[in-house]
């Protein structure tokens, strides 16, 4: 990934908003939980895409789009939202491509969250 796309992985203002709504002391534990959840869903998506389990992909991406948005992981949230819509519309030919793109962005997202907030 180039520098530009990396810079769009995390929206810091969203994380700041979450911190304002909760507390700075609790942020690291919440982000840890989110990273665990993100890893779990990403692993599930990776398994599902191989088996073309589109129902499951829709469920995972649907769940991921809201939690990722809550934690400022905007690139993951946008891709998850696209995958969710593609699955709902039955446009399965594009689902694989977008899911692989999401999987590619998961690790750098986790790295950025870890480096900045943990």
């Amino acid at each position: 990934m180039d520098q530009k796309s990396e810079s769009l992985l995390i929206d810091e203002s969203m994380i700041k908003q979450l911190e304002n709504d909760t507390s700075s002391e609790l942020m690291p534990s919440m982000i840890k939980i989110f990273i665990e959840e993100l890893n779990r869903r990403v692993n599930s998506l990776a398994a599902c895409i191989e088996k073309e389990l589109y129902d499951q992909i829709e469920k995972e991406s649907h769940a991921l789009k809201s939690s990722a948005k809550t934690f400022g992981a905007v690139k993951i949230a946008d891709l998850a939202s696209e995958i969710d819509t593609l699955c709902k519309n039955g446009s399965f030919s594009l689902v694989s491509e977008k899911t692989r793109l999401l999987l590619e962005h998961a690790e750098p997202t986790v790295t950025e969250l870890t480096n900045k907030y943990l």
């Binding site: 909760t22 939980i33 649907h62 769940a63 789009k65």
Partner: protein, 510 residues
């Protein structure tokens, strides 16, 4: 909660049994986990002291737990010797003399008086038998208790932190576990995701609605699903609100307060029954001709209740009307339809000049948020103003969009807006519609969402749309009759009409 009572021989092995049984009994009570733990600790301490240190030795001990509206009482009785030290401890605590408190200690009883300073310890004699009675009273939490259900643990962690200062929060990753707990424990509100494995949010709500114990617990969906169809299905289950993820803490707290407030007031009014006069007063009606427009109205009342209404006030507002639909069914919906129509009448009759549709909806939205009657339910509305040159101005508050049919086909008018009362500030937009040719149809969800006898649900809407399109060659009167014949036929097969049905067809006089 029913009183708990256990009477056993004063032996150490019975201490554990009593403690476990009391702990299990208190699980369903509205006490925080730390208070429950303190009660269990104190109980163990007292009973162990009775067994090991009472002189003369106790042969029997009993424990009772009971409650009133504000307190839970723990009552421990034994027939052994009296603990004078404990009386002294209690007196010490009352004088806040901590130094002396610790000096007197030695029996492990000091923390009883520390944790529960209102403890009473008395010696009683009945029929020549002397017993000791200890009474501990614990104030119940006055916080409302909320169950949050979501299969995403990161969302649960955010929700817990958002809400735990203001409410007692129980989070459930598994909807099955949530159902189990909701059926045995008391909750004031459920907040649930929709998309979850095995039991989704819609199934959870249906299960709660089917049980007498849980059917009236207020329910909010918190979902990433923004599709109108899903939201409509959710609303039809009789929910209290629908929030889109991600949600800000401030917005969440406002909605929870509003829903809990509504719920409390709603319960106060549940005893009210509605008479036939209200139904008649709400029967939708419009003149067949307003200015240069021809209008046909058809309506059917639900088998029980239903909440459609048309508001039309010819004296001040001769060129406009409002079509409303109260969410939910039953007699309550009818009552609230009456309340909304009454509000609109007051608003428009007292207006000093003619006002546009957006003004009616903005005013209704403010009232739906603040008014002590209107804020108990949700309503969707379409406000229509009939203008010159075959023009109509339409604004929508969460209502199904009007359908326009002309020689080019059938399409939905681009009119949308949020539900009244859900946003702090509403600014409804008006859409100007030319009706030079064709006709516009306004309707409530009862028309397109009634179950189809013997066919999948979606085929009802398709059939209605087909009839709307094919009816273009008929007069609006004939087309309305054709549509209602289909509705009547379907309702007859179903054996009941589940919701009010209202259809308004408008065309310009040519």
């Amino acid at each position: 909660m029913y009183p708990f009572c256990l009477h056993l021989e004063a032996k150490l092995e019975n201490v554990r049994e009593i403690r476990n049984k009391v702990s299990t009994f208190l699980e369903t009570s509205r006490l925080s986990d730390s208070v429950k733990e303190n009660i269990a600790l104190v109980l163990s301490e007292i009973l162990t002291n009775i067994v090991q240190h009472s002189t003369p030795k106790a042969s029997e001990m009993s424990v009772k737990v009971y409650q009133d509206d504000h307190f839970i009482f723990l009552n421990i009785v034994d027939n052994g010797g009296h603990f004078k030290q404990l009386i002294e401890l209690v007196e010490c605590q009352k004088r806040s003399s901590m130094e002396k408190l610790f000096q007197v200690s030695g029996m492990g009883l000091n923390f009883v008086a520390t944790l529960f300073p209102d403890v009473k310890y008395i010696e009683e004699t009945h029929s020549g038998v002397t017993t000791n009675r200890m009474i501990i009273s614990v104030e119940k939490s006055n916080k409302k208790r909320i169950a949050v259900v979501d299969d995403d643990i990161s969302m649960l962690s955010v929700m817990r932190i958002y809400l735990e200062n203001d409410y007692d929060i129980e989070t459930f990753e598994s909807p099955e576990k949530a159902l189990q707990e909701l059926s045995t424990q008391e909750f004031d509100l459920v907040i649930s995701d929709i998309s979850m494995p095995q039991i989704d949010g819609l199934m959870l709500k249906r299960s709660l609605a089917s049980s007498e114990k849980t059917s009236t617990i207020p329910f909010i969906f918190l979902s990433a699903n923004e599709e109108f169809e899903t939201q409509n299905s959710a609303v039809d289950l009789g929910i209290d609100d629908y929030l889109i993820k991600p949600v800000r803490k401030e917005q969440l707290l406002i909605v929870i307060r509003r829903v809990l407030n509504r719920s409390q007031k709603f319960r106060e009014m549940l005893g009210n029954r509605l008479d036939e006069k209200i139904t008649n007063a709400l029967r939708p009606a419009l003149p067949k001709k307003i200015d240069t427009f021809r209008i046909e109205v058809r309506s059917r009342s639900a088998t029980a209740g239903g909440g459609d209404f048309i508001f039309y006030e010819p004296s001040k507002n001769g060129l406009g009307f409002i079509l409303g639909d109260i969410m939910g069914h039953g007699e309550q919906a009818k009552f609230f339809a009456h309340a909304h129509a009454g509000f609109l009448q007051g608003l428009l009759v007292n207006a000093v000049s003619r006002t546009p549709p957006s003004y009616w909806l903005n005013s209704l939205s403010v009232a739906a948020g603040d008014n002590s009657i209107l804020n108990k339910t949700l309503v969707t509305c379409l406000a229509v103003e009939l203008q010159d040159n075959n023009m109509l101005k339409v604004a929508s508050a969460g209502h199904l969009p009007p359908i326009i049919v002309n020689s080019f086909g059938l399409y939905e008018a681009d009119v949308s807006g949020g539900l009244p009362g859900l946003a702090a500030e509403s600014n409804y937009e008006e859409q100007l519609i030319h009706l030079d040719s064709g006709r516009m149809m306004l309707f409530t969800d009862g028309l397109v969402e009634m179950p189809c006898a013997g066919s999948p649900k979606e085929s009802v809407e398709n059939k209605i749309r087909d009839l709307m399109s094919s009816g273009i060659d008929l007069t609006i009167e004939e087309s309305c009759d054709q549509l209602m014949s289909y509705i009547d036929e379907n309702a007859q097969k179903l054996g009941a009409l589940p919701d009010d049905v209202t259809l308004i067809m408008i065309e310009a006089c040519r």
